[in-house]
């Protein structure tokens, strides 16, 4: 599928509606989105802002590397700690899988970044030497203001970092190119890009139509690192938070017979994770870290439809959609998207995939182990991450 190679306005974007129940399939301008929904429906968006997650650095021996933040390590306290993937020298113009391997780093090493930032290596993953736990600090904390080091680290991170770039997008993406209009706390390391379809006027039109809109926060992760050992495990466990307002809106919507529409797969994963951590089967506010992967064997419980970028089959993204409908329906929709000239990848067009009738469970939700267990595995896979080497 042909990728979109630059950010486009909503006016240029299109959305393919796939409704397995009726068999309907039609491409609309993205601006028609409000007309595709009805009064009583609920649209759930991911309000995570996108971090400048790509940081150039040098190792102690002076080798050039790139760090790509994977996500914050909780709890932070006064520290600024991130898990990060290591890439070799070069930049986004080379596809990640073709980049040179980075120099090996060890626990206790200090990596030097721009803007006076340093990253101390707290831990190295047991499954990839290129997956690190880092603590950011200023090389020289200003003597006149030690109490503000935490603020200064964040300011330096925002000055030093750039958004993760893509080999198929020639013009570098700026920080404002990768923010949704509702972006709030910076949890995502790549843009929750389905939100590109909506502007403020879309929110206004949806509300006028009687559609509710609410947000969750989900730390959308890296799409690729170039390291097969890491890439095979993507998405890595991600932070999510479904607040009281979102939980109440979901319950209210289901009670009135409305549909829950997720804008982006990150929203699906957050809502479905919240549904699975409930002890008693009642959907309520939840937060934590999730490694939940949906697919043909892990069906959706709470979400009736998803708006998401059009991705090729054989991606985890595509697999998630099989929690909504079967392979044959998706394959033929993908073929229709190609025929209609829809563009793929992060800056591309979208489809709205409605769940088929086998969809949403009405009985008690699945056991919480589905969410928790993979996370515990991932944590224990980190060697010596508890040892902080000063």
């Amino acid at each position: 599928m042909k990728p979109a190679t630059e950010p486009r306005s909503v006016r240029q974007m299109r959305i393919l509606v796939v409704d397995p129940a009726s068999g309907a399939r039609q491409t609309w301008p993205a601006s028609a989105l409000p007309e595709l929904l009805r009064s009583g429906d609920l649209v759930v968006v991911n309000d995570a802002a996108t971090l400048p997650a790509s940081l150039f650095a040098t190792t102690e021996s002076g080798a050039a590397i790139e760090l790509r933040l994977v996500g914050a390590i909780e709890p932070q306290g006064d520290r600024v700690r991130f898990r990060a993937a290591l890439l070799g020298s070069g930049d986004y113009r080379t596809r990640t899988e073709d980049r040179a391997a980075p120099e090996r780093v060890s626990v206790g090493d200090t990596l030097s970044l721009a803007e006076g930032l340093v990253a101390r290596v707290l831990g190295v993953s047991s499954f990839s030497e290129r997956l690190l736990d880092l603590e950011l600090a200023l090389a020289r904390a200003p003597a006149h203001a030690p109490a503000h080091a935490h603020d200064d680290i964040w300011a330096a991170l925002y000055r030093a970092g750039r958004p993760v770039q893509y080999a198929h997008v020639p013009r570098p993406l700026a920080l404002w190119d990768v923010q949704n209009v509702w972006a709030a706390r910076p949890w995502a390391v790549e843009m929750p890009s389905a939100g590109r379809l909506l502007r403020i006027d879309t929110l206004v039109a949806l509300r006028r139509r009687g559609v509710e809109i609410v947000s969750i926060t989900h730390a959308a992760g890296l799409s690729a690192t170039g390291d097969p050992a890491i890439d095979a495990r993507l998405p890595l466990p991600e932070r999510f938070e479904v607040g009281e307002a979102a939980a109440r809106a979901v319950l209210r919507t289901r009670a009135r017979g409305g549909r829950v529409i997720a804008v982006g797969t990150s929203v699906v994963r957050a809502l479905e994770s919240a549904a699975r951590v409930s002890e008693d089967g009642v959907f309520r506010a939840a937060s934590g870290t999730t490694a939940l992967l949906l697919g043909p064997d892990e069906r959706r419980l709470m979400v009736d439809g998803v708006i998401t970028g059009v991705h090729e089959s054989e991606t985890t993204h595509f697999t998630l959609l099989r929690a909504f409908t079967d392979r044959a329906t998706l394959d033929s929709a993908l073929a229709a998207a190609e025929r209609d000239g829809l563009l793929g990848h992060e800056l591309g067009d979208a489809w709205l995939v409605w769940g088929d009738s086998r969809g949403v469970a009405t009985a008690a939700v699945a056991p919480r182990e589905r969410v928790d267990v993979p996370v515990q595995c991932a944590s224990s896979a980190f060697a010596s991450s508890a040892t902080f080497a000063a």
Binding site: A49, D151, W154, A183, A184, R185, I200, A245
Partner: protein
Amino acid sequence: MDIRNTGVLVTGASRGLGLELARALARHGARVVMVARGTRELDAAVRVARDDAATSGLGGEAHALAFDVGEKEAVHRIAGAAGALVGDIDIVVHAASTLGPLPMPLLHDTDCEDFERVLGVNLIGPFRLTKALAGPMVLRQRGLVLFVSSDAAVSAYAGWGSYGISKAAQDHLARSLAAELDPVRFLSVDPGEMDTKMHADAMPDADRTTLARPADVAARFITLVRTAESVPNGARVEASAFAKEEAVR
């Protein structure tokens, strides 16, 4: 709006009204991000605000981000870092502004580049920052954006052209956003004449005893914030119309 436990961003927070607003909000329990250009001055300002927050014991916080709101590159850096430091931001106060070159030239004598710089800091900067920060407010259907205005936005005075034009446009920015994004609230506030560095820069010969203290004006802003829902959205108000909130001890 409630102030306690609310995420707030104040620009121009290293001195004058911006500083006093940041202090008063932190004292009332807000988590305040203070934005200003000068690192050293801002450091001193945030220390004072932190002490205020600690003294009142309402859980307020003060954070410092040294950025120039007139720079395009800075805007999403400010918004992102502020979100990391205090979470969702429900109140924004645009207090940063520039008079342009001193002494203030007649409008016709003003270099176009200086005029652009004044509009950049006083109008385009607040527009960009509001774009970055008001979107989540629209989603949550709650939030307050205050623009610090001036008498010069309404009346024309010799030498005040660039500044007055920028503030008149900023007033209309608030009205326009209010017309589109209600129930998120946008208000312009004329603080009146205050004893600040900006006032001294503009009118070095003024009798300072006739000028209001920024801390007293900030106390009126606290009342305005508390009662913002009862003010017509988009309105231009005068700070003197609001009572001084009692200081938190």
